[in-house]
């Protein structure tokens, strides 16, 4: 199958109701199915690399979140054991005050490099 780049820009969309980011989840499932895949985080999704993301207590009456999403860990899990390379647009991170040790490790791609980076893949799924 083709080499696929998933560009993820949606962030924190229904992640509490889902107890997951369903786009990251879907990409995990694609990788588990043997798809050759890389993930590029852009826009607000670069914040998934931020350390210290934590969901506080959330209950409605007696119904509470059983398993709050841990999005930084989900990104790290994608990378674990070389499963899926994870990249991010470095200017998007910098504009959001995200730099250096405050970030889960991922491969920076500059905006200027983006066209050539995208062209290195056979298919692009944009989320």
């Amino acid at each position: 199958m083709a080499k696929i780049l998933s560009i993820v820009e949606s962030a924190y969309r229904a992640t509490l109701e889902e107890q997951d980011d369903t786009v990251l989840w879907f990409n995990h499932m694609l990788a588990n199915a043997g798809v050759e895949l890389a993930v590029l985080l852009r826009g607000n999704a670069v914040n998934y690399l931020s350390r210290g993301q934590e969901v506080g207590e959330l209950t409605f009456g007696s119904a509470g979140l059983g398993n709050p999403p841990k999005l930084g860990e989900d990104v790290a899990a994608l990378k674990a054991r070389g499963k899926v390379p994870v990249y991010y647009v470095e200017e998007d991170a910098r504009e959001r005050g995200l730099e250096g040790s405050g970030l889960v490790e991922a491969g920076p791609v500059s905006r200027a490099e983006l066209p050539r980076f995208v062209a290195g893949y056979d298919r692009v799924f944009h989320w």
């Binding site: 826009g43 066209p115 062209a119």
Partner: protein, 109 residues
Amino acid sequence: MSQYLLIESRDSFEFGDVAYLHDLARGLAKEGHAVTLFLVQNGVLPARPSAQSERLTRLARGGVEVLADDFSLKERGISAGSLADGVRAAPIERVVDLLAEGSTRAIWH
């Protein structure tokens, strides 16, 4: 070199992030790829000559084929005959034709 179909569903009046797709289109065209930017839904709003349409004209001059979905134009009362320079109306079938060419890389924004 490859063929790219970039579909922009958002308008630049409401979404500053449209610039990202324009930059990608421009950069891919500069690298020598064939690039079609297909505007759909509110993405066609800047196709009407306005403060925002100059960006589309510049893209077209830079070698990007800029098309606006004729159905979306009509829905918004934008005449296909008076679009910004460099922008042409096109039917949704154009998207299908490009997708049917398996080598086209398609991105929806």
